[in-house]
């Protein structure tokens, strides 16, 4: 009961904060236009005929879904963490009787909800303009929500770990940028992964990025068979365990090294 009340307060506070930053959030949503640019490029290429089984409308559906997934899993926690650790702003957070992790979780989830509210109309217009459709079946939708939850948890914990590296190095934020490039290109936000050469695709199965973008989208579009869906969820679970474990390890050891500026 106490936990529930705490959770409720956390979300109420972060919702109030988020409402304060409406205008910048609108701009952040608009900065996620890369998938829409790629949609136009691939649709133009597909005019000459289908490419690897993709018609123009298939590209549209794929990239509109990517656009939505990116908005729902928006994450910048490594930037805030590394700044707070470097500048010693972490101290007030440590005085609270709650792991700062949960404050960041509440903040990111409310902002993601706000992103979705703004992004959904954009996507609807995109679907109407391109004539693309999503086979919205109950099974797909439920699995999609699960896949999004998995993708969000992996990405959030991975970047949380990157941010915690600031306890040891001032390159944490730079490492975050590097990972972002990999996430965009190897996750499937520029090229649908099944258009990469087979060797590249095989290599991508061993990296987390495909499970952050490409996997939820393929689940939503109903492209995967039962066993492939199951395998995807198992791999997501493994990445979650790995990154959550890493995060705990980095947090415990990092705190011992932390000494705030001026302390």
């Amino acid at each position: 009961m106490h936990r529930l009340r705490l959770l409720h307060r956390l979300f109420a506070v972060s919702a109030a904060e988020t409402a304060e930053y409406r205008a910048p959030i609108l701009v952040w949503v608009l900065t996620g236009t890369m998938p829409l640019i790629m949609m136009m490029i691939w649709m133009g290429l597909a005019k000459a005929g289908p490419m690897a089984g993709y018609e123009a409308e298939d590209f549209a559906a794929y990239f509109l879904a990517i656009f939505l997934v990116r908005q729902m899993t928006v994450c910048w926690v490594h930037e805030e963490l590394s700044r707070e650790i470097r500048l010693g702003e972490m101290s007030p957070r440590l005085l609270r009787p709650l792991d700062p992790y949960w404050l960041f979780v509440a903040q990111h989830l409310t902002v993601a909800a706000m992103h979705l509210v703004i992004a959904l109309p954009v996507a609807v217009i995109g679907f109407a303009a391109t004539g693309a459709t999503i086979p919205l079946e109950p099974a797909n939708s439920v699995l999609f929500v699960l896949a999004i939850a998995g993708a969000w948890t992996i990405r959030f914990n991975m970047l949380y770990g990157v941010g915690l590296l600031a306890f040891w190095t001032d390159q944490a934020a730079a490492l975050g940028n590097l990972i972002f490039t990999l996430y965009i290109v190897l996750g499937g936000a520029v090229v649908p992964l099944d258009l990469f050469p087979a060797s590249v695709q095989q290599a991508l199965a061993f990296l987390p990025f495909a499970y952050l973008l490409n996997f939820p989208v393929e689940v939503l579009l109903g492209k995967l068979t039962g066993p492939a869906v199951l395998r995807g969820f198992v791999v997501q679970l493994l990445w979650i365990l790995l990154f959550v474990g890493l995060r705990h390890l980095l947090w415990r050891n990092g705190l011992k090294r932390y000494s705030a500026v001026g302390a």
Partner: protein, 261 residues
Amino acid sequence: MTRYLRLLRIFLVNSLQLEMEYRANFAMDALNALLAFGSGLLVLYAIFEHAESIGGWSFPQALALLGVFMILEGFIELVLYPNLNSLPEYIRKGDMDFMLLKPVSAQFLVSFRYIRLWKLPELATGVALLGYAMAALNTLTPATVALTVVLLVSAATIVYAIWCMLTTTAFWLVKVENLPEFFYSIFSAGRFPVSAFPTWARFALTFIVPIAFVTTVPASAAAGRLDGAMAAGSLLVAALALLLSHGLWRLAVASYTSASS
């Protein structure tokens, strides 16, 4: 004019001293440049595995375009990010007062004070790639190179002017400091020739957010497929954008009331 050149030299030397303090950044930035190059190449390979051309551009021509894109991206990281992006903070904290008190153009000071030299690897990679593509296309003649360089300078001027106008809005919209990020995301459309976009987007990328002049036009010159009207247009747009940015800047400074008053 010579005073500004001398100042620029002092800023450069000072930036170098600052950068030497953070030598580890160089490794990271070089790695980032390598990654930008690798991922750009991977995307082109994926496209050309399934298509003969993109918007009428062959593979080596698309390589030249990627080179131009990386040069401009390098310019943004080298000059625009470390300077103009601090403007909203100067305004919020009142540091803008000190800029206005200096006996030089405050716009110049806010735009070129810090040059993040460790970002050079990406720009250098872009230059090398562009040179390689031009050699492959047999366009490596002094005339083409000169024209390409002129159009690259023009492109950088356009990007600078747009970026400057977007950050200048911070004088009025104190809370919205991420408008340049919005432009940056549209700038990524410059990885592809404008001819690869649908008609309405081609129009928007030429006349509303003139990305066409930023990457397609210099790359066209390098690939030896430039049409003269677009080259003249680039210079015109650059001059116009620069004038506009300066006008907006003066308007903004006139309405500046400092942070605490």
